[in-house]
Amino acid sequence: MAIQNREAFLSNLAANLGRPQKREGVKRPEYSVAPQREVFKDYSTEELIEVLKEHCKVIHTDFVRTRKKDLAETLKEVLDGYEAKSIIASNDRRNQDYGLDVAYEQFADTIDVHLWDSKLGKENQVIAERTDVGISFSDITLAESGTVTLMTNKDNGRSISLMPKCYIAIIPKETIVPRMTQAASKIHQDNENGVDAPSSVCFVTGPSNSADIEMNLIVGVHGPVKVTYIVVD
């Protein structure tokens, strides 16, 4: 049941290519050029942060930089700016490292706080849908395009960055790389080493948008309308 019609389909392709079907022995060639590895090649982290900050202007995203010890305070300021009455956050083990577990407990005095709880199943989606702001960590951050890479797991659902009207990405400084090349290489290497890709890897660049009506840019369509990146030293 799982794979159907494969044999006839593939043997037809091989026949049209004028050779027997290939099942093994194909190696990716050394391509003649590798321009993707040249982009921001020798940039320091500080220089990459500058690139990221500049590009946030292009992608309609607010950029904030803070230190680990000030993160809770900075986060609260951003939430107040959004007039958040409710938040949903990933149940990330990094929450403790960054003091967010304590911060979320304090926030709960004044706003609704929900941490993703896999035991609740689909209820998480229902909560995300009615919540004002989603918060999660970027796993790999791409300076060139201003992109946060979100890898799904049982404690970090996709709905967090998708359903609420606003989204805040916490960006640990060490997750910043030049561009998508480095993120793709890591997942490729993991795969070679027998580590499976997450069920979803989302490269998210700012708020959702569309130019489908008379080519006018509309920021905020199905996903979030407002996005803030908080880079943490």
Partner: protein
């Protein structure tokens, strides 16, 4: 829908395009913006030719070994709990998807934008069995409500203006606000959110399937693909068999080429890469996953001189620079794949019979070839199509055949040729104005319907030459 979008003859479609002032204005300004965006991005990288070279090498290697990589892809999808169906025809693909939808007893299906599902006519198939099908890309949703085909592969509703869109929303969905794009989009958000939450099945296209891990990559801006693949428990991804790359590293390069070439963005807002079913204890994503791999005429192109047409990554850069598309718009091509790539691909997928005019809908200026991020020699393939049509298929447009036949007889008879070039000026005088013929008679009509024809000179070239030899007027 299928690959063809209407039964109207070519000339009528061209005429409609040319007379549609709003569409022509919209296309012209969109082309300008897309083109500038692409050029800015290319310039910023500084080594764009290297990028194109890399893109072209990745595509060549993948297509040369397509059976190997499709095998690997299907193995990996199965390993991650998914099902794979190889469909040689549109009918097979539709039947499989119909069965999945039936088995789930699904009432509502939400879709992301997908050219291949347009090509196989999936929506009609599902509607026939009583399922409600909702397109969730804003442009596609507008077209679906208005029952209109797409005219561009990246911005499908390019030919519609905001008043038309407001009227459609009013009529079909009871919308009662203004025609500002923001309010129209906010309305779509609110309406479609309910559809996402209540859909039983999500159907997506596929920009690039990654063989090494069995993943499917979707490139979007609106966030609708995220919704379609996060919320429903059943997901079906449909891919043309050539939408394939060996590894994540290759995907990354092609995505970079695609977003820059298509919309001048470094990356779109969402590059979503999905692998199989959701894992244990995860909440978002499907627990039942199907990948449908569609041939539908593509394999006939393999091993031929047109193979590189399968390298296309659907960025529309060729469409955005084409002077012919600029004037006639997307619908004139009578194919869901318009512009230069459409003119190359449509006759290959659907035969010359219904599409023999398309290779002629080009000025052969080669702007398309120059723009293509994976270096498909589009204008050369258009010339090759013309050669095949004329030499082998004898299917060149009728008017051209008659004209060429007449010309041959006339030009091979020296007396007739001499006489007619002498009398032409006098004979055509009634239609001549300021040395141009505006509404010519007989065989000239086809030409002068769309442009003016210079009136024959006061003397023919031969007369002029003879005079010149004798030292007369030059």
């Amino acid at each position: 829908m299928s690959i063809k979008i209407s039964e109207k003859p070519y000339k009528e479609r061209i005429g409609q395009g040319i007379e549609n002032d709003f569409m022509r204005q919209a296309v012209s300004s969109a082309q300008g913006r897309f083109r500038t965006g692409r050029l800015t991005q290319a310039e910023e990288l500084g080594n764009w030719e290297d990028w194109r070279q890399l893109g072209s090498e990745i595509r060549s290697h993948t297509l040369e070994n397509i059976d190997y990589y499709l095998y690997q892809l299907s193995e990996q999808v199965e390993k991650r709990g998914g099902n794979v169906f190889f469909a040689q025809t549109a009918e097979e693909a539709n039947e499989y998807i119909e069965n999945v939808v039936k088995k789930k007893n699904a009432k509502k299906v939400v879709k992301t934008k997908s050219m291949v599902t347009e090509e196989i006519g999936l929506n009609e198939t599902l509607e026939k069995i009583g399922a409600e099908v909702v397109e969730s890309d804003l442009g596609e949703w507008i077209l679906q409500l208005d029952e209109d085909p797409p005219s561009h592969i990246v911005t499908p509703a390019l030919h519609k203006n905001r008043q038309q869109i407001r009227d459609t929303f009013q009529e079909k969905k009871g919308y009662n606000k203004s025609d500002t794009p923001e309010e129209l989009a906010a309305f779509a958000r609110e309406q479609l959110r309910q559809d996402f939450l209540t859909a039983d099945v999500g159907i997506t296209g596929c920009n690039f399937a990654i063989a090494e891990s069995g993943s499917v990559t979707l490139v979007t801006n609106e966030g609708n693909a995220e919704m379609v693949t996060s919320l429903p428990d059943t997901q079906i991804s449909v891919m043309g068999m050539e939408r394939l790359v060996p590894t994540w590293e290759d995907m990354e390069v092609l995505v970079s080429l695609l977003t820059r070439s298509a919309v001048g963005q470094k990356l779109t807002s969402y590059i979503t890469t999905l692998t199989g079913t959701r894992l244990e204890e995860e909440v978002d994503g499907p627990d039942d996953y199907h990948l449908v791999i569609v041939d539908n005429g593509r394999s006939k192109i393999l091993g031929t001189e047109f193979q590189s047409a399968l390298h296309c990554i659907r960025c529309a850069a060729c469409i955005n620079v084409c002077p012919v598309y600029r004037h006639v718009g997307g619908h004139a091509y009578n194919s869901i794949y318009p512009g230069p790539i459409g003119a190359v691909l449509t006759p290959l997928l659907d035969g010359y019979e219904d599409h023999k005019e398309l290779p002629y809908a080009s000025s052969l200026c080669a702007a398309c070839t120059e723009a293509c991020p994976v270096k498909i020699p589009l204008h050369e393939q258009l010339i090759r199509h013309r050669e095949i049509i004329v030499e082998e298929e004898k299917k060149s447009p009728v008017s051209e055949k008659i004209m060429m036949k007449g010309f041959a007889q006339w030009a091979s008879n020296p007396a007739a040729y001499k006489l007619s070039t002498k009398v032409a000026r006098t004979a055509l005088k009634p239609w001549t104005k300021d040395e141009y013929i505006e509404n010519g008679p007989g065989p000239l009509k086809g030409w002068t319907d769309v442009r003016d024809f210079p009136a024959p000179g006061k003397q023919s070239f031969r007369t002029w030459w003879n005079n010149r030899q004798k030292g007369g007027e030059a």
